[in-house]
């Protein structure tokens, strides 16, 4: 929610830039940096260098504004350019947020699936009164589904290629954490030495990136030619 607010502030600043007085611009900037102070937002921003870039663009704009200027038209072009940049940043921010939200949802689903519900449906046979069947099948929906499932099979042979070839990131993360846990201090080269296929190595590498991003482990490479040192993050 706060993200949207900040983006809105930025937008209004940019859109109104040309007509605003210096005081108004200063006020707008203060407002933005105040919202940056918000605790949760600050943590967000730590993840998103884009905000820094956006801020830098604003300073750039402000610096230019302070210089002697010839004509107002240049400024409009400049503003248009930055408005596009703003939109691009906003979109990137939104996309990155959804990637992480998706992973968070996946982790929650995985936790919930550890509790498997009972459904001994065949046990209803010992009940003298059977559970009522109250649903109906809509013939249109049935036909549509049939069409879709068969045409999907015909065109792309189902999704077996996806299931088989793409690594399951969550499994890879779990495996990785288990290994790191066991060895405490290890190297990436050592971790991947046990994998059997290039797909598994890719999965491990992606898992490593995710685990570092989530702060579970630390990865360090002191020199390009040196090994990547992996250790558990105790911070």
């Amino acid at each position: 929610m706060e993200n949207i607010q900040v983006i809105e502030n930025l937008k209004s600043l940019l859109v109104e830039y040309t007509s605003n007085t210096e005081t108004q611009i200063a006020n707008n900037l203060t407002m933005i940096f105040q919202s940056f102070q918000n605790k949760s937002l600050k943590e967000d921003i730590d993840n998103y260098a884009e905000f820094v870039l956006l801020g830098a663009s604003l300073f750039e704009l402000k610096a230019k504004r302070l210089l002697p200027q010839d004509e107002e038209v240049d400024w409009l072009d400049e503003v248009e350019l930055i408005k596009d940049k703003d939109l691009a940043f906003a979109r990137l921010l939104q996309f990155k947020a959804f990637t992480e939200v998706g992973l968070a949802l996946a982790i929650k689903v995985k936790q919930t699936e550890r509790e498997v519900p009972a459904f001994k449906y065949y046990q209803t046979s010992s009940l003298s009164v059977k559970p009522e069947i109250r649903y109906n099948i809509d013939i249109t929906k049935f036909t549509e589904t049939a069409n879709e499932v068969f045409s999907r099979y015909k065109t792309i042979q189902g999704f077996s290629h996806i299931d088989k070839e793409l690594p399951d990131l969550q499994v890879a993360i779990d495996d990785l954490l288990k290994l790191v846990d066991k060895r405490l201090n290890t190297t990436f080269e050592e971790l991947v030495s046990s994998v059997n296929s290039s797909q598994e190595a890719v999965a491990f590498f992606l898992a490593l990136l995710e685990a570092v991003r989530w702060g579970f482990i630390k990865a360090e490479q002191t020199n390009v030619n040196k090994e990547i040192i992996i250790e558990k993050n105790y911070e």
């Binding site: 498997v116 519900p117 009972a118 459904f119 001994k120 449906y121 065949y122 046990q123 209803t124 010992s126 009940l127 003298s128 009164v129 059977k130 559970p131 009522e132 069947i133 109250r134 649903y135 109906n136 099948i137 013939i139 929906k141 049935f142 036909t143 589904t145 049939a146 069409n147 879709e148 499932v149 068969f150 045409s151 999907r152 099979y153 015909k154 042979q157 189902g158 999704f159 077996s160 996806i162 299931d163």
Partner: protein, 174 residues
């Protein structure tokens, strides 16, 4: 490892009875130890007035409701089997309807995802049933649609199913 926990939980989520051998291997116990554990669980259920127990014979066991439950419920229906069909279930149903008799493996192949739980759901709703076995090694079960399925779609026979897209040759002529 707590054996009673494992036995009770596995029986709760298993689709049908579980063979004694499975538990004996999993828990590295012998047959009489397994039977003792099951008896112990049943005594716990009995003392706590639980409405189900572990029924077993020489080979396998399963959790079943006590027979008096029927009397206790009277003519009240348990609130099961009331929900509509999800997309995975509907997809699975469509495949069985058009490809029947068909194996679980073929269904999963067409859908591109594992379809075990959808098959279980459809079977429990009485829309499909086991209709024999395929005569190949392993004898996989063949699934067919039921009379109830025809009723629900208001069809007199499977041959009256709507033709679909380009999948079937006869559809191409239309």
């Amino acid at each position: 490892m707590n054996s009673k926990k494992v036995i009770s939980a596995v029986l709760l989520v298993s689709d049908g009875p579980v063979e004694h051998e499975y538990f004996e291997k999993l828990l590295t116990i012998n047959n009489s130890e397994l039977i003792n554990l099951i008896d112990e669980i049943n005594a716990n259920f009995e003392n706590a007035d639980i409405g189900f127990f572990i029924k077993y014979n020489n080979f396998k066991s399963d959790i079943v409701t006590k027979s008096e439950i029927s009397d206790l419920l009277g003519d009240v229906k348990p609130p099961a089997i009331l929900r509509g069909l999800s997309t995975p279930a509907l997809e699975t149903l469509a495949i069985i309807a058009y490809e029947q008799p068909v194996t679980k493996m073929k269904i999963s192949e067409i859908r591109g995802v594992e379809s075990e739980s959808s098959i279980k759901t459809l079977e429990s709703r009485g829309l499909i049933e086991k209709g024999g076995e395929l005569d190949v090694p392993g004898n996989p079960i063949l699934y067919t649609t039921t009379e109830l399925f025809l009723q629900k779609l208001d069809l007199s026979s499977i041959s009256n199913l709507p033709t679909i897209g380009e999948y079937f040759n006869k559809a191409e002529e239309e």
